[in-house]
């Protein structure tokens, strides 16, 4: 009986191995042609006749240009290979790195504000006033600043709107907004060139390097404490001026190339301009956060210089001592009352508001 048992077991084993072998063969057999194709040195010679064509269509080999009856820039290029690179750059570099840059700058400013607080006027306000910016200077500043922020906001909507505004407005709503922003951005762009020119003419002469600027920089501009000497503009303001001017030139030139695509510039140049435009814009925007902070909450008594035009004498001595001395020597220090008068701040009885004594009509 034992023979019967052993023969039955062997039979079972044979069946099992046979089935396993069959499975392996079934699975592996279809791979054989692939393996053969892979190992066979002659396989490539039997090419798909369409492969070459599609390769050219996709512009794998850069700079292939076809011929067409259509007359126009890049009209011989069926698919712009650079477009994909540009898209990759925009989505994977510009958008996240730009957001990070702005975020980091904002965070640093906030951190600095909470750790160090606003810079105070040494010895407190003196009362007497100096005119820091004339009507023309202030007008030019706000004209440039207004245009800059209009362009920055419309530009940022075009760059980041899909992440921020589509959830709020829905795709159709954002479509309308983006169209409007694009039109407005293109329309106001060229004005910024004029504004930049006006800004340059107005402020350049006081923004050239002067003795003491390097020392100011080495001392960290007094942000970390201690008094630093400066003229009408300190080295930090000068650097901001040149960032604004040079960044502005890059923005204007690249912007004009994008805005007026009628001078034969092709997609490669347009793509490159767009990259430059985006990088320059994000840098200038990020630095402008610092400018705005220092002009408002960051330094006590600064904002008035750009609104009504006057600053306190002690403010000037604290931050621009050499300029303050020049103005003092020229006899340009006004009493608080005189400065208020020139700003058109009327005495109580001359204000056209409600009667000060409180008696009602």
């Amino acid at each position: 009986m034992s023979n019967n048992v052993s023969s039955r077991n062997r039979h079972h084993r044979v069946v099992l191995y046979s089935l396993l072998s069959l499975l392996v063969v079934t699975l592996v057999l279809p791979l054989v042609p692939y393996a053969v194709a892979e190992l066979d040195p002659f396989a490539g010679k039997v090419a798909n006749p369409g492969a070459e064509f599609w390769r050219d269509v996709r512009q794998r080999d850069r700079g292939v240009s076809g011929s067409t009856q259509v007359k126009g820039v890049d009209s011989g290029v069926l698919i712009n290979y650079y477009g994909e690179e540009w898209r990759q750059f925009r989505m994977q570099r510009l958008v996240p790195y730009g957001a990070a840059l702005m975020g980091v700058v904002l965070a640093v400013i906030l951190l600095f504000y909470f750790l160090r607080g606003p810079l105070r006027i040494q010895d407190g306000p003196a009362g007497s006033q100096l005119q820091r910016f004339s009507v023309t200077e202030r007008t030019v500043h706000w004209f440039t600043a207004g245009l800059f922020w209009f362009l920055a906001l419309t530009g940022l909507i075009l760059l980041y709107g899909r992440y921020v505004l589509i959830p709020l407005l829905g795709p159709e709503g954002f479509g309308v907004t983006a169209t409007a922003c694009k039109e407005a951005h293109n329309l106001f762009g060229p004005l910024f060139l004029v504004a930049l020119l006006m800004l340059f003419i107005t402020f350049a002469k006081d923004n050239v390097y002067a003795r003491g600027d390097m020392k100011w920089l080495l001392k960290g501009g007094g942000l970390l404490g201690g008094h630093v000497s400066a003229g009408r503009f300190n080295a930090g303001e000068k650097i901001w001026f040149w960032i604004a001017v040079l960044g502005g030139i890059v923005l204007c030139v690249s912007g004009l190339i994008l805005d007026f695509a009628v001078f034969g510039q092709g997609r490669v140049i347009m793509g490159l301009s767009h990259v430059l435009h985006g990088i320059a814009a994000l840098i200038v925007i990020a630095v402008s956060f610092g400018h705005i902070y220092l002009g408002t909450a960051g330094v006590e008594g600064t904002l008035g210089a750009m609104t009504h035009g006057y600053v306190d004498l002690n403010w000037a001595r604290s931050h621009h001592d050499r300029w303050a001395r020049e103005v003092e020597e020229a006899g340009g220090v006004l009493t608080a009352e005189e400065a208020a008068r020139r700003q058109g701040k009327l005495s109580a009885s001359q204000s056209s508001g409600e009667p000060v004594t409180g008696e009602s009509q």
Binding site: Q343, S349, P355, Q361
Partner: protein, 443 residues
């Protein structure tokens, strides 16, 4: 003859006392407002309504005003001085008054008090702001009407009011009455001049002014010499001699009328062909451009200011002048009320040319001449002294730029103000009357 600077000091001293001599014109607040509004309601015509509706507040007028420019204070901007009247027009006369009454504040007595400084102290109604206005708004005209409204509300500054009240009550200015005329005439007769006084009939009624009789006697003497040399049938009259009209300056209509009618009635009584106004700024327009309106019909005589009259006589070949004065360096200050207001610009220049002097125009001259700062009665307003001094600074610089030694005047108020300015600044310029210079150069 030279003027007596002691008399000038006396004048200055007298003016400082004026405020204390004024009779009070106090009314309850509501009455002040009502009286002022009544003037506006009566006076605003199409010209002023058109002006009030057109201002776009461009602020250019600020650049033309000697008080705004010299003080740097924006509250003196001419366009701002129109706002009181504008508010009245919009709320009570304008086409959308029902709407403006919802949106704007009514005029209060306090507003009127605030406007006193704006239309009296800080405005000589010189009209230079009207020249820069792109809308051609006659801002000085609106200030004049606002002065009338404030005057009716009893808010003429005390010093100016004192003179106006004197002229209203006694017909005299600074105490100068018929006796003053007689004395002045007597003085001129002792100097050898034949001076006709109170002739029954005469072709020319020549007016004078208290300042000419007491201080600027060189102008008076020159006028006498010129009329005698021309051989004209002329006279001074003790019942109608005063050219100055403080009713007009203060904005008090009945005193203005009384003063003008005195001259008009005298001129008609003596059958005058023409009335000659002396070197006095406002006296000319007072008679020339408001006389007929006050009289109620066209005047039966002509009105000339002396510089205009001299030019007419030169043109007619009747007036002969010495013209060997090329060593005298002069410049000329146009009185606002003659030049910009009345178009008498070429006439004084023709006279100056005939004198053969080394004539240099001011940088801003003629229609664009800067006011001296003392016109329209501002010279007598004590509280306006700092403003006048500041504004005179502009004139001081302008004259210095010409390099002239003498500044020719055609207006007594301007001359007073220039003398004061010269004194304050230790100025080496001689302040000379044009008619006096002509009188010295009769052929």
């Amino acid at each position: 003859m030279a003027i007596d600077m002691n008399v000038f000091q006396q004048f200055a001293g007298q003016m400082a006392q004026l405020g204390s001599m004024a009779q009070p014109t106090d009314y309850p607040d509501e009455e002040r407002v009502e009286r002022a509004k009544a003037v506006f309601r009566k006076s605003i015509g199409a010209e002023q309504a058109g002006d009030l509706e057109a201002c776009v507040k461009c602020g250019l007028c600020a650049e033309a005003c000697h008080f705004r420019v010299s003080t740097g204070d924006p509250k003196y901007t001419p366009a701002r001085k129109m706002e009181l009247m504008k508010r009245f027009y919009q709320r009570e006369m304008g086409p959308f008054r029902w709407l403006y009454r919802l949106a704007t504040r009514d005029i209060t007595a306090r507003d009127l008090e605030d406007w006193q400084e704006l239309v009296y102290d800080s405005c000589t109604t010189c009209g230079r702001c009207g020249m820069i206005c792109p809308m051609g708004i006659n801002i000085a005209g609106i200030v004049t009407t606002t002065r009338q409204a404030l005057a009716e509300a009893g808010l003429v500054p005390a010093d100016l009011r004192a003179v106006q009240q004197e002229q209203g009550a006694y017909g005299t200015v600074f105490g100068a009455g018929p006796d003053t005329v007689r004395q002045a005439v007597e003085q001129m007769r002792t100097r050898g001049h034949d001076v006709p006084l109170d002739k029954e009939k005469a072709d020319y009624l020549v007016l004078t002014s208290v300042v000419d009789m007491m201080l600027f006697t060189d102008q008076l003497e020159a006028t006498i010499k010129i009329f005698n040399r021309l051989g004209l049938d002329w006279t001074f009259r003790t019942d109608g001699f005063e050219g100055a009209n403080f009713g007009l300056l203060a904005g008090v209509a009945d005193v203005q009328k009384q003063a003008s009618m005195k001259v008009i009635e005298t001129a008609i009584a003596i059958g005058a062909k023409a009335v000659i106004v002396p070197e006095c700024g406002h006296a000319y327009p007072a008679l020339r451009w408001s006389g007929a309106e006050i009289y109620g019909k066209p005047l039966p005589f002509d009105v000339y200011v002396i510089s205009e009259f001299l030019d007419l006589q030169l043109q007619a070949g009747k007036l002969k002048l010495k013209s060997d004065n090329s060593d005298i360096k002069v410049t000329f200050h146009d009185p606002c009320k003659h030049g910009r207001y009345s178009g008498i610009l070429d006439e004084p220049r023709a006279v100056i040319k005939a004198l053969g002097v080394d004539f240099r125009e001011l940088p801003s001259h003629g229609m664009m001449n800067w006011c001296c700062g003392g016109g329209a009665g501002v010279f007598v307003i004590g509280s306006a002294a700092p403003l006048r001094q500041a504004a005179f600074g502009i004139k001081y610089d302008e004259v210095n730029k010409t390099g002239a030694d003498k500044v020719l005047m055609a207006c007594g108020s301007c001359r007073l103000n220039f003398l004061k300015g010269a004194q304050d600044n230790n100025w080496d310029k001689e302040i000379v009357s044009l008619v006096a210079l002509v009188g010295d150069n009769l052929e």
